[in-house]
């Protein structure tokens, strides 16, 4: 059995990363030119890593699924990016950011990684400002900060409601600079189909050109996957349409362990579902919770009248409103972490107090903020979000409270990686949301951008170099080897198999069905019975998929249905692993909430004595049970407590 080695450097927590860098192997500048690196994905992690590796002198081949590297889904992050700069002088520090992140993740993240993340967070802000990222500033000319869920300090840097966009464009500009310099080869409209291993090491990838439909081979000394999360397994999520789990899933099937697949984040502030034709959910930034107050009616009859459309929320008097987050969590109020806020909304709606015509929504009300600060201030802060809400819902949020409901947003789980962000396949590195990452069982707001850029700019350029140092004698890889032939044949076989089905049910139909199973049983609240049922249903759906899916069109040329079918085929396997992982984890922690394991007040109840570990699943073959490996989590620098957002 493979032993998991997390390769955490020795020494005190605060010195681990410094020590690592001081003793790691480096590649001499002349030799870097002889080394090829493949980067899949051009979001924050991929784009930043590709640019930084190219700056160091490596030959970098970059692949993205969109028509331009500027469109990766990191672009959609709204709220901000955390850093321990302590510019507001409110008591922040690297340790406190580290502490909040571990606590926010419900003590299911690796201490050393999180500390490193907090440590380099400040470098990220410096780097981005130097790139010309227009962060919000105060009249004095210095950077502004805002507060975010799960923290008692203001440490979030932001660029209006488009922080992800600005940071991504920063990374994209760095990447563009390197493309212009000639050391990055950019391949757009390409989807990774598989990882090629030679002698057990990752040495290349097979990609599909989405325009021509041709399979292509690329070899390199190391491969970095920065392909994002797999939230679209739920069909409806805040992810982009092409966001998928296939690259990670193919890596898993080639021997990379999958870490904590059941850890999924459900974001509390999304626009509620409006119809069964709906293709995606739109997130409203969490920053809205800074000024908005969340409530549902106190009286069930009011809720029912609202659902029927006979009562307007503005007519419900103050005393009949239940500000349930402020009631349950006086210390953090509307700023509790995302998992807590999401579950509380579900609890109210399940009890019948939900609003909107579906009863699956709660109010986010700006009335008090508008009265206190004036409409102008609210407009300056959230104008673009309010405008977006009005365009979608056709209601004016300055007058009527916004309706929100939780939606799948982020996957904390992903490919298991060690301290160097290397998977269990040597030479296969994984960054950003695609790895199981630093967020434990729940990610705090404004931490995804931090992690993506930390991995991309400041971690992978070091750790990949450490790996590549002993590869300098190996020449560029030819792609006509048996390993490439076999892997490409595997991909081609899967494609042929899909076309051979000739069924009569569209890919989206299967995807929607899978999404419903996932949402009902592997969503916000899970239990043993439901999870077991989900596994059986997913297996059944998978079987049906391979008997009855319809993939029209040709293999050559653009074929969107084929693209979707390939992704859904993988989701149908990934969904099962998520359910298995959730079933195995007999505790509630962070985003993973098991009905059987809760306190009398309904809060999540961890089981630290039995489950303080990272689940790392090993693939054993189609329709065979995967094997669970455990990486124990050891907390030496932090006192493990029950998360408490009721008192400070």
């Amino acid at each position: 059995m493979t032993k998991l080695d997390s390769k955490i450097p020795a020494g005190p927590l605060a010195e681990k990363w410094t020590n690592y860098k001081a003793h790691q192997n480096l590649v001499n500048p002349a030799n870097k030119r002889k080394i090829d690196v493949i980067v899949v994905g051009t979001g924050l992690a991929g784009g930043a890593a590709a640019a930084s590796l190219s700056e160091l002198g490596f030959n970098v081949k970059v692949f993205c699924i969109q028509d331009s590297p500027r469109r990766a889904h990191s672009i959609a992050a709204q709220g901000g990016i955390n850093a321990a700069k302590n510019y507001p002088n409110d008591g922040d520090s690297i340790y406190r950011l580290f502490y909040d992140t571990v606590k926010g993740g419900d003590y299911r993240a690796r201490e050393a990684n999180v500390y490193r993340l907090a440590e380099v967070s400040n470098n990220i802000i410096d780097q981005c400002v130097a790139q010309g990222v227009p962060f919000a500033r105060e009249y004095g000319g210095l950077l502004d900060n805002r507060s975010f869920g799960g923290a008692l300090v203001s440490r979030t840097f932001y660029a209006r409601g488009q922080t992800g966009q600005q940071l991504l464009l920063g990374a994209y500009s760095a990447l563009s600079k390197e493309i212009n310099n000639g050391s990055v080869e950019m391949y757009t409209r390409r989807e990774m189909m598989d990882v090629v291993k030679i002698d057990g090491k990752a040495r290349g990838i097979i990609v599909r050109d989405l325009v021509t439909g041709k399979l292509e081979r690329y070899g390199a000394h190391a491969v970095l996957l920065a392909t994002g999360g797999y939230g679209n397994v739920f069909f409806l999520s805040t992810n982009a349409m092409t966001s998928n789990g296939s690259a990670a899933w193919k890596a898993y099937k080639r021997g990379a362990f999958f870490g904590d697949p059941s850890f999924v984040q459900i974001h509390p502030t999304c626009i509620p579902v409006h119809g069964d034709y709906q293709s995606k959910l739109t997130l409203m930034s969490e920053s809205l919770r800074n000024d908005g107050r969340i409530w549902v009616p106190k009286k069930k009859e009011d809720a029912e009248a609202i659902q029927k459309g006979t009562l307007s929320p503005v007519n419900i008097p103050e005393e009949d409103r239940d500000y349930y987050l402020e009631r349950r969590y006086p210390a953090f109020g509307n700023l509790v972490p995302r998992d807590v806020a999401s579950r509380a909304a579900k609890e109210r709606c399940d009890e019948g107090y939900g609003v909107g015509n579906t009863g699956l929504a709660v109010y986010l009300d700006f009335k008090d903020a508008i009265n206190r600060l004036g409409k102008n201030v609210i407009e300056a802060r959230y104008g673009n979000l309010f405008q977006m809400y009005e365009k979608i819902v056709d209601e004016n949020p300055y007058q009527t409270p916004m309706m929100i409901y939780p939606a799948i947003h982020y996957t904390m789980g992903g490919i298991w990686v060690d301290y160097e962000l290397q998977s269990t396949v040597p030479g296969l590195f994984v960054g950003g949301e695609a790895n199981f990452s630093d967020h434990g069982a729940n990610r705090l707001g404004a931490s995804a951008l931090m992690q993506g850029l930390s991995d991309g700019y400041f971690v992978l350029p070091y750790t990949m170099q450490n790996y590549l140092a002993d590869q300098i004698g190996i020449p560029h890889f030819p792609t006509d080897t048996p390993e490439f032939n076999e892997t490409e044949k595997d991909v081609q076989d899967t494609i042929d198999k899909l076309f051979a089905v000739k069924g009569n049910t569209s890919v989206d139909t299967f995807h929607k069905k899978l999404g419903l199973i996932m949402w009902d049983f592997v969503g916000m609240a899970r239990n043993k019975e439901g999870l077991e049922k989900a596994i059986v249903e997913i297996q059944g759906l998978r079987k049906e998929f391979w008997q009855n899916v319809s993939v029209p069109g040709e293999q050559t040329g653009m074929n969107v249905e084929l693209e979707k079918a390939l992704r859904v085929a993988d989701f149908l396997e990934l969904g099962e692993l998520m359910a298995r992982d959730a079933l195995n984890r007999n505790e509630s922690c962070g985003g993973h909430f098991r009905d059987e394991y809760k306190t009398e007040e309904g809060e999540a109840m961890r089981d630290d004595s039995n489950f303080m570990f990272v689940s790392a699943w090993e693939y054993k073959g189609v329709d065979k049970e995967p094997v669970l490996h455990k990486e124990p989590l050891i907390y030496e620098n932090i006192e493990v407590k029950q998360r408490n957002y009721k008192t400070a």
Binding site: Q127, V129, Q131, P134, R160, I392
Partner: protein
């Protein structure tokens, strides 16, 4: 609601294209425009026909991937939004909706409504960045920046690179796109250092790629989903002028 769609179908870059009529029925007014297109494609797939190819990704108005020239307007008749944020309540029952791809020489059609906007990437590669490497940068607060300038830079940086400005312009000019990037950096001390080189290289690349010339019609600003101002074009003209005489 029911609609009559007239959609440009073109099998490939060099193939002949034509408008094809598709009626669609029972579309909810709360559906988004692209969800309406999804429904059409589902029907086409069910009938064994090739679905209409169109670009889209985030479906929340920020990635810039979606396009479509709808009834004479890039991103449709509504203001300040992308096609993915356009909702069917903006159309009338029974209305004829003509859907065309972006038309410009530097944006060749790939298939149906999908165009190749690599030209925009090439313009950015010509100078849309600050030439610094990772690491070794000063503290983020080392250089104070006037809030007004930071805000103006953010206004310009909000560009999503969708190409609606080129599609809207009667001259297929890319000036709004290019000037937004030039302005963002011109307004920030970090970008000032190589301002001359940047504006010259980016404008030269824009011209090489075959975009048209700006004649100040301001259709770009009117159709821009992110309301990027033509003041940026003036700023770029100024930057260019100063660069050329200095």
């Amino acid at each position: 609601m029911d609609l009559k769609l007239k959609i440009w179908r073109q099998p490939g870059p060099d193939a002949e294209g034509k408008f094809v009529h598709y009626p669609v029925h029972n579309i909810s007014k709360d559906a988004s425009f692209l969800e309406m297109m999804d429904i059409l494609n589902e029907e086409l797939v069910a009938n064994g026909e090739e679905p209409v190819a169109f670009d889209h990704d985030c479906r929340e108005g920020i990635c810039g991937m979606c396009s479509l020239y709808i009834n004479g307007h890039p991103h449709g008749p509504d203001d300040s939004i992308t096609t993915c944020q356009l909702h069917m309540r903006k159309f009338k029952d029974g209305e004829t909706v003509v859907i065309e791809p972006w038309r410009a020489k530097p944006f060749p059609i790939i298939k149906d409504l999908m165009v190749d906007r690599t030209a925009f990437d090439e313009i950015i590669q010509a100078g849309g960045y600050v030439s610094i490497n990772t690491g070794g940068v000063p503290d983020a607060n080392a250089i104070p920046i006037k809030k007004e300038n930071a805000d103006l830079a953010m206004d310009a940086a909000a560009c999503i690179g969708c190409g609606a400005c080129v599609a809207a312009c009667k001259n297929a000019s890319a000036m709004l796109f290019v000037s937004a990037k030039v302005s963002q950096f011109a307004l920030l001390p970090q970008g000032k250092v190589e301002a001359k080189r940047r504006v010259e290289n980016m404008v030269a690349k824009m011209d090489d790629l075959g975009f048209g010339n700006c004649t100040n019609t301001y259709a770009c600003e009117a159709e821009c989903p992110k309301d990027i101002s033509v003041a940026n074009i003036a700023r770029m003209n100024r930057e260019f002028f100063v660069a050329k005489i200095s």
